[in-house]
Structure formats: structure tokens, C-alpha cells
């Protein structure tokens, strides 16, 4: 079963309610999704894993709505993006309700290991809006086309392009002073 295609596994989940097939899908996609969510959350591992778990549960419960026109991974990223956005919205509302002035945002709760480039970039990405973060990650890291990003994020093409351009600019500003010598 482990070498079956995503589509075949989805078919088994839909028709037989097969947990084992869904487990194979989770195994196959969890690492990249969890990495992406770490990048989106400033490398907050527990938050990223919680969001990933919620994504997979939502995917399982609504798998009948997956029509197969897009890749399963794109569909997962779409769910993950929605889960992430609603999490940040809830967190912001909670901060406003508690009268927080924003000083205790996610940025301050995460500590970074200066030697880890992945964590450092995740920290730098926190300066971007969640929309810019996701668009930039999908474009530069996942190398998706603008059209694919549109489909995943459910926003117009122009908004995707603007988010990527502004995101790149902000990221470049925050990366000033980084040494890139070790990346050749």
C-alpha cells in the first residue's frame, strides 16, 4: 500500500473509510507540511505540529470534497493556510481582548539558535504578514507558480504577485547583515 499513488489512497479512504491508507498519506506529506508550518510560525515547533495535526484531521473529515483536479499536497497546503490564518486571527483577537499591546507576539516567544539557518529564516519571516509569508514560501521554497499559489491561497493573481514582491523586499531588508558565504 505504501507505494500506491495519492489518488488511489484517497479513493480507499473515501470508499472504505480506510485509516491505514490515510496513515500512508500522512506519512508521505507530514514532513514537508510540518517544515512549512515551522517556517510560517517562526519555528514554533509545538504550534506548527498542532496546526499540521489540525490540517490532517480537517483533510480526513473533508476528503470527499477533494475532486482530484489539483495535487493532494496543494489541497493540503490550502487547508493548512486556512487553519493557520484562523489561528493567527484568534490569537490576535485574544491579545486585543486581554489588552496586550503586541509586545508579546509570537516573535518574542521563540528563541533561535543562531547556527540554524532554517530557524533564523523562520524568525525573519515573522516580520512579514501571514499572507506574504505563505506566498513567499510557496514561491521561493516550494517553487510553485503564481497560478498554483492563487489556487492554494484562494486570492487573486495580482494579490499573489504583490504579496511576493513586498514579502521579498521586507525579507531582504531583514536579511541585511547575514553572511551568505557558507551557502555556495
Amino acid at each position: 500500500m505504501t507505494d500506491a499513488t495519492d489518488q488511489a489512497l484517497i479513493q480507499r479512504v473515501v470508499t472504505l473509510n480506510c485509516h491505514a491508507s490515510f496513515n500512508v498519506l500522512v506519512k508521505r506529506h507530514q514532513s514537508t507540511l510540518r517544515y512549512s508550518l515551522r517556517q510560517m510560525t517562526g519555528w514554533d515547533q509545538s504550534l506548527a505540529d498542532d496546526l499540521a495535526q489540525e490540517t490532517f484531521i480537517k483533510a480526513y473529515t473533508s476528503i470527499t470534497s477533494f475532486n482530484g483536479t489539483a495535487k493532494f499536497s496543494s489541497w493540503l497546503y490550502r487547508i493548512a493556510y486556512n487553519v493557520m490564518i484562523s489561528h493567527f486571527r484568534l490569537a490576535r483577537n485574544r491579545e486585543l481582548t486581554l489588552g496586550d499591546d503586541g509586545a508579546h507576539s509570537t516573535e518574542s516567544s521563540v528563541s533561535f539558535d543562531s547556527n540554524d539557518l532554517h530557524r533564523d529564516l523562520a524568525g525573519a519571516m515573522l516580520k512579514l504578514s501571514p499572507q506574504q509569508r505563505m506566498a513567499l514560501h510557496l514561491h521561493l521554497h516550494k517553487q510553485l507558480t503564481h497560478q498554483e499559489i492563487c489556487t492554494i491561497m484562494d486570492i487573486p493573481l495580482g494579490t499573489v504577485k504583490t504579496a511576493i514582491t513586498r514579502g521579498k523586499k521586507k525579507l531582504q531588508e531583514s536579511l541585511v547583515g547575514w553572511e551568505t558565504g557558507g551557502m555556495s
Binding site: 473509510n17 485509516h19 490515510f22 496513515n23 500522512v26 506519512k27 507530514q30 514532513s31 514537508t32 510540518r34 517544515y35 505540529d49 499540521a52 495535526q53 490532517f56 484531521i57 480526513y60 473529515t61 539557518l117 532554517h118 529564516l121 521561493l140 521554497h141 517553487q143 521579498k168 525579507l171 531582504q172 536579511l175 551568505t180 551557502m183 555556495s184
Partner: protein, 108 residues
Amino acid sequence: MTKELELDKLFTHLRVSEPAFNEAQFLHSVNLALPKKRRISMAFESAITLVAVAISCGLIYHYFPALELLNQVPRQFMITPQALVLLGGAATALSGLIYWASEVDLEF
């Protein structure tokens, strides 16, 4: 080298060195959180329960010595004054013990 190229180079490096997360713990937690599937339908499960109850009732009626046990229950009771005093004393002692225990508990 332009800034654009530097960013591309950075992301290329990150893509190549992307860590893999493969702990079984994550898979296990997702598995636990998934809605459990019903192996049989609710109607079938109810039918099985009904049949099991009917079989159990039949077996108990046939094998359980209910009449013999009922016959062993005494038909008459004699309450003597001593027994009455003993019962009253036991009830008072029990009430006192319960009251004391609750009061002691309140002190904590």
C-alpha cells in the same frame, strides 16, 4: 550579485538542506485524533445486543436457582427490645462517626 539572486541562493540552500521530520509520535497523535470509524452500523449493533439479551435471559431462567434462593429468605422476623436498642445504638454511632469525619475534613 543582485539581492534577488541572493534570496534565490538562500532558498536553494534551504530546499536542499530541508530537515525531515519522521517521528512516529506525530503520526500516532494524528491517528488518535482522527474520528473513529464504525465497523458495523448502529442498527446492526442494536440487533446484536437484543439477541444477546434474549439469550442471556433464557439461560438465566433455565440455570439460575432463583426459586431455591427465594425459599431461603426467612418469612418471619422477630424484633426483640435488645435488637432495637442495638440498632439504635449502631445508627447513632454511625451518624456520629460521619459527622466527626466531615468536621475533621473541614479543618484541612
